[in-house]
């Protein structure tokens, strides 16, 4: 009975619709990644500056990237990064190493409505901005948003900031935040079609799981919210993944991953679950990992490919996986693509 239940639980975890298969063994062409036995990987764009967010435009498949350290959102045209939204302010994340950050999480509500999570302003002033790209022909300024939301300080609660990653269902957009470290908020913007109507602190993840820093977020194929709790950046192996009911916020399942610092989570079109690990303490351990059930009914990770400070990922419709990497130094960031098959 116990094994049966555990098996069911892990089925829920990985949402397996197909058996996990190892990606083809190929060399790669990425300087910021190494995959001696991993999948075929291509560098799409070089020279990005702390890229921290990816969204794929519905209908066109065009990849948009938050080129965070450059304070801009770009779209990828061949091997070129074309500015779309520019002139975001810059803030600093970390005490050493330090990273310049501007725009962070990206999400399309429809083909022309792009939501951008900010990392550019102080906590409390940080903005979740909505842009209408219907008439877009040339770069627009960051303040051309059609709507903007923030979560300012109150008498009882700190202001929110660093809107790192975004996920959505029909009812709302869920945003991981990095302001109030006593609560670890995931905020929620209620959604009416392609409009956001209001923004609130929604889920206190730290109260639920006792670990800091919700960062990665995605919706499971069944519609639960899956959050990667990064944990302390100077503590190894402390990242969690936590499943919540998207309606009533109940914590459904919380699992230790033994990964160091999860920055992104995504399900492949085949229903397999993947995580990016930044591995702040030792970035040589970072990379793309598949999350799987193990024989004992727990979970295990399988490293697909080593990556140098991976920050965000998104699957395209054809199953290609796009990943942003900070790389070895500023302005050496990359967007890489892994061929379909994950």
């Amino acid at each position: 009975m116990k094994k049966f239940l555990t098996f069911l639980g892990m089925l829920l975890l990985v949402a397996s619709r197909a058996s996990a298969q190892e990606p083809a063994s190929e060399s790669n062409s990425s300087s910021a990644a190494s995959a001696p036995t991993g999948p075929l990987m291509h560098v799409v764009v070089d020279g990005l500056d702390n890229p921290c967010g990816i969204a794929i435009q519905p209908g066109t498949g065009v990849v948009f990237v938050a080129d965070s350290g450059s304070g801009r959102v770009v779209k990828i045209n061949g091997s070129t990064a074309e500015p779309v939204i520019t002139d975001f302010a810059l803030d600093i994340y970390g005490k050493g190493p330090e990273y310049k950050i501007g725009p962070l999480g990206l999400l399309f509500l429809d083909q022309n409505t792009l939501v951008v999570g900010g990392g550019d302003l102080p906590d409390g002033e940080e903005a979740l901005r909505v842009y209408d790209l219907t008439e877009w022909k040339e770069p627009i300024k960051f303040d051309a948003a059609v709507a903007s939301f923030s979560l300012p300080e109150t008498e009882e609660v700190k202001g929110e900031g660093n809107f790192y990653a975004l996920a959505a269902n029909e009812q709302g957009v869920f945003v991981t935040c990095n302001g109030d470290d006593t609560k670890g908020w995931v905020s929620r913007a209620a959604r009416e079609g392609n409009k956001l109507v209001g923004f609130e602190r929604w889920l206190a993840t730290k109260e639920a799981v006792g670990v800091d820093a919700p960062v990665g977020i995605t919706m499971t194929p069944r519609g639960e919210i899956l959050i990667g709790q990064m944990g302390e950046i100077n503590v190894a192996n402390d990242s969690l993944i936590s499943f919540y009911d998207a309606g009533d916020k109940r914590l459904l399942l919380n699992l230790e991953t033994k990964l160091h610092d999860i920055t992104a989570l995504a399900y492949s079109p085949r229903g397999q679950l993947y995580a990016l690990d930044f591995a702040w303490l030792d970035t040589t351990q970072g990379g793309l990992f598949q999350l799987l059930k193990d024989d004992a009914g727990g979970m295990k990770t399988h490293k697909i490919v080593s990556l140098d400070k991976p920050t965000a990922m998104a699957f395209a419709e054809d199953g290609s996986l796009y990943i942003t990497l900070i790389g070895p130094e500023p302005q050496k960031g990359q967007l890489v693509r892994i061929d379909p098959g994950l």
Binding site: K2, L8, L12, G96, T182, G210, V235, L253, N254, L281
Partner: protein, 337 residues
């Protein structure tokens, strides 16, 4: 909807089963309410004979080079398992520059020592014995010394099936330290539903603790620590400040960062901070209220809290009253072989 309920039920059952499995790891250690399942390494299972042997070693001054200093000298059960001084004296009265951290709930620490240089109690246990300014007894000499004592040799034979080794000593001491647990504090009973257990002032302090005072940005979870390292500014105004975690992690951002200690039974463990520089809980709260000591590596969670005098008093009252458990036993030094 029915499917959703079934899913939730199954997930609950899975969690329950996994938790029950963990409970079996406790061996013979009684874990008080409010704490998590006790982590026990598979390589060092608990049994009563090992606990008793570890206790003897913990209280035995012969583990120091001149038979004057025992583990309990600096981690004294009657002084909150610390020693009541800013820095403790080792052999020949030598002192380091750090406060003796409490043993209370050290079993839950991801890291041991203020800078986290040991990953487990077992890894930590021999460090102070060999440290020249603490007990200054080379480990090979320690083993030789213990095996020359018939009572110890027989005890090690009984517990480990062989004479004393360095690993056996570490495992025994760690096992004893693993029994030093603080829980079932008024805070735990409040969480369990006894809403009258806290005084009005402590209750107000608890609200501040979990809110405006920002304490839970670091002091979180059942053991009231995030297990991480933070620069809160202590000592950073000195010419050559203690490097703290940076000396081991190599990360520039870890300069002056030290491990977040548990706040369980914090009223018993004065003085406070990694250098013992703050004598009272009032001083500690006022320090945080000022926003710490500014420096380039100051954690961003340290900022002026704007607490008034009543707030400070209430917060101190919560720390003192709310977090003092009833599970710490009075430990007397055992009869030594």
């Amino acid at each position: 909807m029915a499917r959703s309920r079934l899913t939730s039920f199954l997930l609950f059952l899975i969690g329950f089963i996994l938790q029950s499995e963990n409970a079996s790891l406790f061996g013979q250690i009684d874990v008080p309410p409010g704490l998590s399942p006790l982590p026990v390494p598979a390589t060092n299972p608990v049994n009563e004979a090992k606990i008793q042997l570890g206790k003897q070693l913990y209280f035995d001054p012969r583990l120091s080079v001149d038979n004057t200093v025992r583990c309990a000298s600096c981690h004294d059960p009657s002084k909150g398992w610390s020693n009541g001084e800013a820095t403790a004296a080792g052999v020949s009265g030598q002192r380091g520059n750090r406060n003796a951290p409490t043993i209370i709930n050290a079993a839950y620490n991801r890291f041991q020592f203020w800078d986290g240089r040991a990953a487990s109690l077992e890894e930590q246990a021999l460090g102070p014995i060999a440290n020249p300014i603490e007990m200054n007894l080379p480990i090979d000499q320690m083993v030789e010394k213990l095996n020359a004592i018939e009572g110890y040799r027989l005890a090690f034979q009984n517990v480990f099936g062989s004479d004393a080794t360095a690993e056996h000593v570490a495992n025994a001491i760690a096992t004893f330290e693993r029994t030093v647990l603080s829980g079932n504090a008024p805070y735990d009973r409040f969480k369990a539903g006894d809403t009258a257990v806290l005084s009005e002032q402590a209750h107000r302090g608890m609200k501040l603790f979990f809110g405006k005072a920002n304490c839970t940005s670091c002091h979180t979870g059942p053991n009231l620590t995030d297990g991480g390292f933070h620069n809160i500014g202590i000592g950073m105004d000195q010419e050559n400040p203690d490097q703290g975690r940076k000396a081991h992690s190599g990360l520039a951002g870890d300069l002056g960062a030290f491990k977040t200690p548990t706040l369980r039974d914090i009223a018993q463990t004065a003085p406070y901070m990694h250098d013992g520089s703050l004598a009272t809980l009032e001083e500690v709260v006022q320090y945080y209220n000022r926003g710490g000591t500014d420096n380039p590596f100051l954690d961003e969670e340290i900022y002026p809290l704007k607490l008034n005098d009543d707030d400070v008093a209430a917060l101190v009252q919560f720390l003192r009253e709310g977090l003092t458990g009833d599970s710490l036993k009075i430990i007397e030094a055992p009869v030594l072989p």
